[in-house]
């Protein structure tokens, strides 16, 4: 068991967490399309089959519904399946099993059976991929009772949250922001330490404005915060990490200081999680607000082909514009 803190990328952190758990929990099995000899199209499972054998790291036939479905059967018998979907855009055939079975098995059997499954998928745009490869539809899944939706935004959080997801007794959809799979390196100790689920991470402290972002958008959001800082405005940046169930308390705590908030996500705006977060904020903290919650999101369009994807994705400029709208808002006429 190595504890050295090698400097690794987010996707390597995923591999490291999978390897750690495969080595330490014989109930863990990893499967998906091309994940064996090929190590997955993003190499997230690189070397795992060689190391742990084709009985625990399995290539499946090409059928997402099947991948989602067999995981349910495995999990009910005490295994801890970790299933990879090649891209989030191909998860939909499996939605039936995720929604109709994995997320409900515990409730339906009043606790007799459960589905400790991790469904992993690379998600999000920005890598010049073909159609259907850049989806960001986390809100569909966050709507499902009984499911957890977790998104890491750094190598360390990918390692710690994936370990937590595998060890969690309930099903988790683990979405990996592929745009930042290799964007940064960070020392991550391979010590098997999980990070808590259902807890937001405060990535940057500040008293003037709260910026909320997850996944790859954290990158631009932090960059926007740095830009604001040069202008004397200190933004707090919060990464919810677990999108469902959402740690709204950390967000409200931040708003007690800042009273202004911008939610950033690359998913489409309508019915996106920005709407949920804004709704919860106004329910719980209406009196704290000095400005309406701003949303900086993808458009309500189909994610465009890559020639236009930078137009679609919220970049630093759009985040700054959202921040300025929140900062500049002055209530007229009082109440």
């Amino acid at each position: 068991m190595g504890e050295s803190a090698n400097s690794i990328t987010l996707v390597e952190a995923v591999t490291q967490a999978l390897a750690y758990e495969l080595a330490n929990d014989p109930q863990v099995v990893v499967f998906g399309q091309d994940i064996g000899a090929n190590g997955g199209v993003f190499r997230a499972t690189d070397g795992l089959q060689k190391r742990f054998g084709a009985e625990r790291v399995l290539d499946t036939p090409l059928a997402e519904n099947m991948i989602a479905g067999i995981a349910v059967g495995m999990a009910t018998q005490g295994l801890r399946p970790v299933a990879e979907f090649q891209f989030m855009g191909f998860i939909y055939p499996g939605l039936d099993h995720i929604l109709s079975h994995a997320a409900r098995m515990r409730n339906r059997t009043r606790g007799r059976l459960s589905c400790p499954i991790v469904y992993r998928a690379p998600y999000g745009g920005g890598i010049h991929a073909p159609e259907h490869h850049s989806e960001s539809t986390e809100a569909i899944f966050a709507h499902i009772p009984g499911l957890r939706v977790v998104v890491p935004s750094s190598p360390a959080r990918a390692y710690g949250l994936l370990l937590a997801a595998i060890r969690d007794p309930d099903p988790v959809l683990f979405l990996e922001p592929k745009r930042i799979y290799r964007a940064v390196r960070q020392p991550v100790a391979d010590d098997g330490e999980a990070l808590p689920l259902d807890r937001a991470f405060v990535l940057r402290e500040g008293g003037d404005l709260t910026l909320i972002a997850w996944g790859a958008s954290v990158k631009e959001t932090l960059a926007a915060a740095e830009q604001l800082s040069t202008e004397g405005i200190e933004a707090e940046v919060i990464d919810p990490a677990t999108l469902k169930p959402l740690d709204i308390h950390s967000i409200i705590d931040s708003l007690e200081k800042t009273r202004r908030c911008v939610v950033v996500h690359e998913a489409a705006r309508f019915g996106g999680l920005g709407a949920e977060i804004a709704a919860q904020i106004q329910e719980y903290a209406f009196d704290l607000l000095d400005a309406p919650v701003q949303r900086v999101t993808g458009y309500d369009t189909v994610m465009p082909y890559y020639q236009l994807e930078q137009v679609y994705l919220p970049g630093v400029e759009r985040i700054l514009a959202g921040a300025r709208a929140a900062l500049g808002y002055v209530r007229e006429g009082g109440r």
Binding site: E55, G73, T76
Partner: protein
């Protein structure tokens, strides 16, 4: 026009098995397991399933049960399947399987609770690893493949005996991708899983002929490279032989199998259905001529294993069993409403405490 000369590449055939004909006469000597005790036990269980179905439909009519799918006409398949499984095997049933559930040790109370809208009915006391009955069509076949993987994995890791997963379905379910995906994977991974298709001729209002143009359902297994057998599903001995043989092979790590059990749904699809809208009374009358319970009774009487007196005793015993189960089900305290949160996650996430408290307060208010 030019006609190429073609060479035969491969050929396949589908076998059909029957022991008791429509009149209840043996068409060949019965297998060893079909002892007098086994036969009378199966007869009892088929009648019990029929009784539970009958009561359940009546309870639905008086508003005490929700929609219920009767097994009427298919009792032989469920009883033979449930009976062939060992306790440690894992059964992944579809919704029309009262007979099989009874054989698995699921109590009548649990069956009634489930269809009566109480989720505790799927918290089986005596079949702790069996999957709950599956409502979406054909998804259970993939669960069974996953279960079978887990069973094989456990067997390889710990040297424990190989257990088998069994999925049941109707013939309509074989139109779905899940069915093919499960068979395909089971073939490739040589999983210990048996798929039992209740071919009861109808998927709600869609007849088998409008569901698929295949000559048999069994031949669908050919594409997945797994063995298949067609059996007379109203012949409890034939179904039992087929399931036992498939289980034996799966247990010896010889891989999966598909069984098409040909039967007929003698009832409406569910209590919410009226089958007379789409199927003729004549067809139904015909089908009653080869139903499984009477067929077995004729055989048993011919062998001197059954009599009017025995039937009277059995009817009395079954009525008492049913009555006792009904009473115990009806006297069960209702589950507290907060149970909707209790089993959603292993531990209620903090983000849901407020909704949980809100429900508790509403209940409190309603009580005051």
């Amino acid at each position: 026009m030019h006609k190429p000369r073609l060479q035969l590449q491969a050929s396949f055939d589908i076998a059909w098995l029957q022991y008791l004909d429509k009149q209840g006469s043996a068409t060949q000597s019965l297998p060893e397991f079909a002892s007098p005790d086994w036969l009378t036990h199966s007869f009892r269980q088929m009648q019990l399933a029929r009784l539970v179905d009958d009561r359940a439909v009546k309870l639905q009519r008086t508003g005490r049960l929700g929609t219920y799918p009767s097994t009427l006409g298919q009792e032989a398949i469920g009883v033979a399947t449930g009976n062939a499984l060992m306790a440690e095997d894992v059964y992944c049933p579809y919704y029309r399987e009262t007979g099989a559930l009874l054989e698995r040790g699921v109590s009548i109370e649990e069956i009634l609770a489930n269809w009566g809208g109480d989720e505790r009915g799927q918290n089986y006391r005596h079949a702790p690893q069996d999957l709950p009955i599956c409502i979406p069509i054909a998804t259970q076949m993939l669960h069974a493949a996953g279960v079978a993987f887990a069973l094989k994995y456990r067997h390889q890791q710990h040297g424990t005996p190989l257990q088998v997963a069994v999925a049941s379905s109707g013939e309509g379910a074989t139109s779905k991708g899940d069915f093919y995906e499960a068979m395909n994977l089971a073939g490739v991974w040589k999983l210990p899983v048996v798929f039992v298709v209740n071919n009861n001729q109808w998927a709600i209002s869609v007849p088998r002929s409008a569901q698929t143009s295949t000559h048999t359902i069994a031949q669908k297994a050919i594409a997945a490279g797994i063995p298949a057998l067609q059996v007379d599903g109203n012949d409890v001995v034939a179904v039992a032989w087929a399931v036992r043989d498939a289980l034996r092979r799966a247990r010896s790590d010889e891989g999966p199998a598909l069984i098409e059990a040909i039967s007929y749904r003698l009832c409406d699809h569910t209590t919410a259905d009226d089958a007379s809208r789409y199927r003729s009374g004549e067809e139904l009358q015909q089908a009653w001529q080869w139903e499984p319970v009477a067929r077995l009774e004729t055989y048993l009487r011919g062998e001197g294993l059954w009599s009017d007196a025995k039937q009277q005793d059995l009817a009395r015993e079954l009525a008492q069993t049913m009555e006792a189960a009904l009473n115990s089900w009806e006297s069960r305290a209702p589950e507290p409403a907060t149970a909707i949160f209790d089993h959603l996650y292993a531990q209620l996430p903090e983000g849901l405490y407020e909704q949980y408290d809100q429900l508790r307060e509403e209940l409190q208010g309603a009580r005051e």
